[in-house]
């Protein structure tokens, strides 16, 4: 990973939003270890494949455990870790292609199980690592190397989708504000259940959306990104839906289920209920004795 591994031969392009995301994660983990005294080795960071996923090699300072696997499967791997090691703090990072195209199938199941992990989705509206093809969040009509005549498909609306899956904690951040992002990630890690932090992280090389997000008064461009109003009641699912249906990108905590019961707790409770019925191997074998 960069400092301790200067040889590592991947670099993000200048200005890539992912620099802000890795900073946000570093800050959130530093705050967490400080606050809880839990060693950083109690955190596992599971990365998808993409420019985004390379984040796991590019963290500065103290290193959590990492996993850089295959395209689209970070959530499945994370589920495997958290269910068998509830003592671990599990985070995933992946791009919009990794998490919302080939990996989209894994969001619903983690939401229904309410696996206690934090998924950071790094959305640049493009396939960066493969050099600029349309992704699910690329807007309709946009020209990319695979949509030379404009994208024919409608764009996925990720926040609406998380809500529909009943993800129990949903936040949205921008890579240009690492401190604020760190706060959102910190709360997501503290939330007992499946948490998604969706981050707008522009690709300066293939889909530079900084201006669109921040706006540009000079050119009369309204900023897409706007803070979630203090008045917003994040525990109200319908209010959350209304919020994401508005134009633009709401930055802040969008939804938080106050009654979230995570999978490992559900399993532990079931284990208690069935203690009387559970059997040792001897008992299993003896049940078949003839």
């Amino acid at each position: 990973m960069s400092k301790r591994n200067p040889e590592y031969d991947f670099k993000w392009c200048p200005g890539c939003g992912d620099f802000g995301v890795v900073r946000g994660i570093e800050l959130a983990l530093a705050e967490r270890t400080m606050r809880t005294g839990e060693p950083i080795e109690k955190t596992a960071l599971i990365a998808g494949i993409g420019c985004s996923g390379n984040l796991v090699h590019l963290q500065e300072g103290p290193q959590p455990y990492g996993f850089h696997g295959i395209h689209g499967r970070a959530l499945g791997i994370a589920y495997g870790i958290k269910a068998s090691r509830p003592d671990m703090n599990v985070i995933t990072v992946g791009g919009d292609g990794d998490m919302l195209s080939i990996g989209a199938e894994h969001i619903g199941p983690q939401a229904k199980r309410n696996v206690d992990l934090t998924a950071v989705v790094m959305d640049n509206g493009i396939y960066g690592l493969t050099k600029g093809q349309a992704s699910p969040t690329t807007l309709g009509g946009v020209v990319t190397s695979t949509t030379p005549y404009g994208k024919l498909e409608d764009a996925v609306r990720p926040l609406d989708l998380y809500l529909a899956h009943n993800v129990s904690f949903i936040a949205c951040g921008v890579s240009s504000k690492p401190k604020e992002l760190a706060g959102l990630i910190g709360q997501a890690m503290d939330h007992p259940g499946f948490a998604v932090v969706h981050v707008m992280s522009p690709c300066t090389t293939y889909n530079d959306t900084y201006e669109a997000l921040k706006g540009n008064p000079a050119k009369g461009i309204e900023p897409l990104a706007h803070q979630v109003p203090d008045s917003h009641d994040a525990s109200d699912w319908n209010a959350a839906l209304a919020l994401v249906k508005q134009p633009g990108v709401p930055v802040g905590i969008i939804y938080r289920n106050p009654n979230s019961v995570p999978l490992h707790q559900r399993f532990a409770e079931a284990r208690e209920r069935i203690k009387p019925r559970s059997r040792s191997v001897e008992q299993m074998l003896n049940a078949l004795a003839i």
């Binding site: 591994n5 499967r73 791997i77 495997g80 269910a83 068998s84």
Partner: protein, 571 residues
């Protein structure tokens, strides 16, 4: 007096033939007989051809039996489909409802459902059949009435009623049979074994082996004929430190056990061919990231959805070489229900020892049949665990050209990146040619840790050998015994350890003029692998969806040995 009774109950789904076959087997096993049952039915719920067979013997049972002593045909179609398997002088019990004129030969007409209703217990039709068959083989009825007492004493108010109803049914069936005057050779007295025995179904015994082997975490997605493993785990893998979960697909299954294996647990999943194919990319990840895990593949007919309820041995090539890139995945294939328990333990140990994926390759015919096996001594089991890092290596998880201590997440000072791309010692991605060379050789070098596989051999001086694999072991052994009895000079070899094979076995096989491999697939998959290893192996192939019969193998071996004079037969 005879050593052996083979009876088949055939009809439509839902006519109770499976419970009849299994009831007979269990009762006979309790009094000391060896038993084996085999059932086959299409991937469906109601109706359609279903048959179940029970073999009862005073000797160890190697196959389901080539020929039937008694055929119970619950409808006309069943009679037509199965009559060819009845031995000369065998007896048919047919459903008189379905036949206006009795079929030729020794045939007993019986309307089990009607008779059951008469006994006041309409659900006892299967006991009518059992009674009739027991009578034909001159077996004491109390074998079965005692069994009924034990099985149906469940502390419920109507226990007595049910027991009496069932026993009444047994007697009625017996009367009908004796009235017919027909009989098969009376079965020898059983010789109760001095060691404790159990009657187990392949998948259940495999599951118990895994749990006895220290399994902690299991994920699976339902698929025939592997579902019963998932169900067993859901019911039994629930103690402190254990977890079992049903996934949304086999792709999530492999991802989840990779995560669980990475987290330090002993892990397993189970599936059949279609799921194995979906796991191929993930298996490659476990290989390159060096994650210990076990995948049980219960083979069925392929490819694609294939033949979900028929048996085949056609997943071998994709088990050894799953997916793209250079890998050689360890494979263990049990040859019988008895093998399933140790095979599961060994698979978990191999995974932990070499820190990578292992495929436990079983098949429908073993998974779903019941066999009596000795009660295993679970105190004698040696469970291995991966050597773990205590931080002494720092983050150098992939250091050196062979195994290195495994850093369990949470261990302070040992954080690294498990990586599915080529990587350096600490798991960071790199494209340096020499690193790819070193890490590739590191991964393959670990296979040398798995050369502890054992094998059976007999008459090894012969220049021609028979080497079955997996579930074809029993029929091949029966054929071998017969050939040897006829004075044929043939060597016998069998191992569960398909990849890597025991080195000494490889050497022996390379020295043979011909190695005959009975296998249930079209390609002759195992023999082609063996030829790749420099062994002159050729297959006896069958791809009917059914197991081998002893007689068929005897003929085929004789033919190949005749043809075998210098020139080779292509498998």
């Amino acid at each position: 007096m005879g050593a052996d009774l083979v009876v088949r109950f055939a009809g439509e789904g839902g006519q109770g033939q499976v419970t009849a076959a299994e009831g007979m087997a269990e009762a006979a096993a309790r009094v000391g007989y060896h038993v084996q049952t085999f059932a086959t039915y299409p991937s469906q719920i109601e109706g359609g051809p279903v048959w179940a067979q029970t073999r009862i013997s005073t000797n160890t049972i190697l196959t389901q039996g080539d020929q039937l002593d008694v055929l119970v045909a619950l409808n006309r179609q069943a009679y037509e489909n199965h009559i060819a398997d009845l031995r000369d002088g065998g007896i048919v019990i047919y459903n008189s409802k379905d036949f206006d004129t009795p079929p030729p030969g020794n045939a007993i007409g019986l309307d089990a459902e009607a008779l059951a209703r008469e006994t006041g217990n309409p659900r006892a039709a299967n006991f009518i059949m059992i009674g009739a068959v027991a009578q034909l083989a001159s077996m004491p009825l109390d074998y079965f009435t005692d069994f009924v007492k034990v099985r149906f004493t469940r502390g419920r108010p109507n226990d007595a009623e049910i027991i009496n109803g069932n026993n009444k049914a047994i007697e009625v069936g017996a009367e009908k049979a004796s009235a017919s005057g027909y009989a098969v050779e009376p079965l020898d007295q059983p010789t109760p074994s001095d060691t404790k025995r159990i009657l187990a179904r392949g998948n259940d015994y495999l599951s118990m082996g895994a749990i006895a082997g220290g399994l902690e975490v299991f994920y699976g997605y339902p698929i025939s004929p592997a579902t019963t493993i998932l169900v067993f785990m859901e019911n039994n893998l629930n103690q402190e430190g254990q977890f079992v979960g049903q996934t949304s697909s086999e792709i999530e299954s492999i991802a989840a056990i990779i995560g669980a294996g990475y987290s330090g647990r002993k892990v397993m999943t189970s599936t059949a061919g279609p799921g194995l194919s979906l796991m191929h990319e993930g298996i490659g990840l476990a290989w390159i990231a060096e994650i210990p895990l076990v995948i049980v593949d219960v083979q069925r007919g392929g490819p694609a959805t294939g033949l979900p309820t028929k048996t085949e041995q056609s997943d071998l090539l994709s088990a050894i070489n799953p997916g793209h890139g250079d890998m050689s995945v360890p494979v263990i294939a049990p040859g019988s229900v008895a093998d399933c328990f140790p095979a599961a333990i060994h698979a978990l140990n191999w995974a932990e020892r070499y820190q990578g994926p292992v495929i436990l390759l079983t098949e429908m015919s073993i998974a779903e049949r019941n066999e009596d096996v000795p009660m295993p001594d679970i105190n004698a089991i040696a469970n291995e665990r991966r050597t773990v890092s205590t931080g002494e290596m720092g983050n150098r998880r992939y250091a050196g050209r062979t195994i290195s201590p495994f850093p369990v997440p949470g261990t302070v000072g040992a954080s690294y990146v498990a990586n599915g791309s080529e990587h350096d010692e600490q798991g960071d991605t790199t494209h340096q040619p020499q690193v790819h060379v070193d890490q590739t050789e590191r991964r393959f070098s670990k296979l040398a840790l798995l050369e502890d596989g054992t094998y059976d051999s007999e008459n090894t001086s012969a220049s021609v050998a028979i080497l079955p694999w997996g579930g074809s072991k029993g029929a091949a052994r029966a054929a071998y015994n017969r050939l040897r009895a006829d004075g044929t000079d043939l060597a016998w070899y069998f191992t569960m350890f398909i990849n890597p094979m025991p080195p000494a076995l490889l050497e022996e096989l390379r020295s043979k003029d011909l190695v005959i491999v009975p296998e249930l697939n079209y390609l002759g998959q195992f023999s082609s692998v063996l030829r790749g290893l420099g062994i002159n192996a050729h297959s006896i192939r069958q791809y009917t969806g059914l197991p081998f019969k002893e007689g068929f193998l005897v003929e085929q071996v004789q033919a190949m040995m005749k043809a075998q004079s210098g020139k080779l037969v292509r498998a």
